[in-house]
């Protein structure tokens, strides 16, 4: 396969341009010195990066997002770790059905899921905005937590659990002293992926947020509707960096194989 194929090379280049071009343009426009977003920029400056930290609503929304993502993450972990463990360790009837149910939030379009939440959970139980956000984000994080931790458990040799028990450890003690330490990189990766999924989420949040409470991406939407300055480009670049950093960490922790592995 050393033979060069020009047509294929050109095609690959075009695909790359198509994928990365918009990101490149956004990145360039974030350094605009003027007041209006345009490409190419007329003068270069970092003032819009600085501006992010002066816009009150971004700071508030950022805090909200962090709170919701971390809180939801904790809740999703508390539910997801035992679920992933049970799904990997125990054989029971209807296991595949339960597996499918846990993964279903990935399969259902977010916009549909969000509407369903709004109509039947928020509407029926009159949940306050924060509680609704927590519940919604927990649900969308859960499949990622379960998938990644299950993948980590699939490499786990359960006979070491029996070894621990034969040495005198209780079932619960075994879980904390033997199972958890051996899947901790998987848990860390799961937390990061779930965090990204939640932090960048628009389609669920857009239904849940209300007067005075907004998550970061929703705030970005609102901002774009009202202002035309390059702040939004600067934020986008920061978000890209945060996401890339997290994905890099996940890659280092356990490889990206869980995307392809069942």
């Amino acid at each position: 396969m050393q033979e060069k194929n020009r047509g294929l090379g050109l095609f690959t280049l075009l695909v790359f341009l198509f994928l990365l071009g918009p990101l490149l343009i956004i990145s360039v426009t974030s350094f605009e010195g003027g007041n209006i977003l345009k490409f190419p920029p007329e003068e270069l400056s970092l003032r819009w990066y600085e501006n992010i930290f002066h816009v009150e609503m971004f700071l508030v929304a950022f805090k909200t997002s962090i709170l919701v993502s971390l809180g939801g993450n904790l809740l999703a972990l508390l539910l997801g770790v035992p679920a992933a463990y049970a799904l990997s360790r125990v054989e029971f009837k209807g296991k595949s059905v339960i597996n499918a149910v846990f993964v279903s939030p990935i399969l259902v379009p977010g916009i549909v899921l969000g509407f369903a939440f709004l109509r039947y959970i928020v509407g029926t139980y009159q949940l306050p905005i924060y509680a609704a956000l927590f519940v919604g984000h927990t649900v969308i994080m859960l499949p990622f937590i379960i998938r990644v931790i299950s993948s980590s458990l699939s490499n786990f040799d359960f006979s070491i659990e029996e070894a621990a028990e034969s040495l005198g450890a209780s079932k619960l003690g075994t879980f904390f002293t033997v199972v958890l330490p051996n899947i901790k990189s998987g848990i860390l990766a799961a937390v990061m992926i779930a965090f990204l999924e939640s932090f960048n989420n628009v389609d669920i949040s857009v239904y849940m947020t209300g007067p005075g409470v907004s998550t970061f991406p929703i705030q970005m939407l609102t901002y774009v509707e009202n202002y035309f300055d390059p702040t939004i480009s600067a934020i986008s670049v920061l978000l890209m960096f945060i996401t890339a950093f997290f994905m890099f960490m996940v890659e280092r922790l356990m490889g990206l194989s869980y995307f392809t592995k069942r």
Binding site: I160, E162, A163, E165, S166, L167, G168, A169, T177, N182
Partner: protein, 354 residues
């Protein structure tokens, strides 16, 4: 007196009986092997003793106390796994100290006991390493040390050597036997390797389809198998299903399709009512046709059907009027394919089994 007893145990999985009305008694300080082909229930028996598995029926008595419902972590039995099952996140020291910490030993005690057991398994100086850095044999030594250090009442081995290469297997089984005898620890050892079991055990239980076919010391099993399955398992390749058996004085007379045979009766076979004769390929004799030394008794005329080269000997398949026999012969004695010969069954080499 028995240290522990399995009493009328039944285990079923997916409505299939793995063990049925199973009984086993093991004495203190003995090494007993469970030997048999895969699926015979030997591992099930071991896991039942360990407590990993619950019996559907029956009792497990330990020192005359009912242990049937005692959970694994309260039994104080050591278990050595086929795949070692070391804790990958802990150093060798911490792996071995795991059980001691749960028993609330003091730091100084743990240090002393771990170092002591490392010496027993010849792994001094490895305490700071991690399992991934050790070879298979070293890992299994750590696993044995980890099980020994808690001073278990029973030590259980589940095919501990089957992941090791052949040379190491022989060394390790000698090690296991040495440690077991030094500490006088009651041991149950599961394997499908006959040589391994016979070489280290006080007693061997040969299992088939969830039943113990024979439980004796290795020499007795080797010489006097009681059932056809056991005989076959330990290398009696030739079987004759006799029509009639008559015990008279010091002899047993047998007949098959009009051919009659005589065996010397020996003490152990005396009570045996079996009518199936079993004999090893090494114990049959071949005589040239017309050989002056050939005896009439216990002889059949036959023809060499197949001849294969085994390195140290030849193996022949000999066709006779009462069936084919497999015979091993030294290099010095060779026979052509198709050659007519006389096959002799020595009167003291055949055993009768059920």
């Amino acid at each position: 007196m028995a240290l522990f007893t399995l009493q009328d145990i039944s285990v079923a999985y997916n409505k299939q009986n793995i063990l049925k009305d199973f009984n086993l008694e093991i004495e203190k300080g003995k090494l007993v092997s469970l030997l048999g082909p895969s699926g015979c229930g030997k591992t099930t028996t071991l896991r039942l003793i360990a407590g990993f598995l619950k019996a559907n029926e029956g009792k497990f008595l330990f020192k005359d106390k009912d242990y049937t419902k005692v959970p694994v972590n309260k039994r104080n039995f050591g278990f050595v796994f086929q795949n070692y099952a070391l804790f990958p996140h802990l150093s060798i020291f911490d792996n071995i100290a795991f059980g001691l910490r749960l028993r609330k030993n003091s730091k100084a005690e743990i240090e002393k006991k771990v170092m002591n057991v490392l010496e027993i398994v010849n792994l001094k100086g490895f305490e700071k390493r991690y399992p991934q850095e050790l070879s298979g044999g070293q890992k299994q030594r750590v696993a044995i040390a980890r099980a020994l250090v808690i001073e278990p009442d029973i030590l259980l081995f589940d095919e501990p050597l089957s992941n090791l290469d052949a040379n190491l297997r022989v060394n390790m089984r000698v090690e296991i036997r040495r440690i077991q005898q030094e500490l006088g620890i009651t041991t149950v050892y599961v394997s499908h390797d006959q040589e391994e079991c016979f070489s280290i055990s006080d007693q061997v239980a040969i299992m088939n389809k969830g039943v113990i076919e024979q439980l004796s010391d290795p020499a007795t099993i080797y010489k006097y198998p009681e059932t056809k399955f056991v005989a076959d398992f330990i290398g009696f390749k030739n079987f004759i299903d006799f029509d009639e058996r008559t015990d008279t004085g010091g002899k047993i007379e047998l007949s098959k399709s009009g051919y009659s045979f005589v065996l010397d009766k020996d003490a152990r076979m005396f009570n045996h009512a079996g009518k199936i004769g079993a004999i090893r390929p090494d114990d049959l004799l071949i005589r040239e046709k017309g050989d002056a030394g050939a005896v009439q008794e216990n002889s059949l005329s036959g023809r060499v059907k197949v001849s294969t080269y085994l390195g140290r000997s030849y193996q022949y398949v000999v066709e006779t009027p009462i069936g084919d026999f497999i015979v091993n012969k030294e290099m010095t004695e060779s026979y052509r394919m198709g050659q007519e010969i006389i096959l002799e069954i020595p009167r003291n080499q055949m055993v009768l089994v059920d």
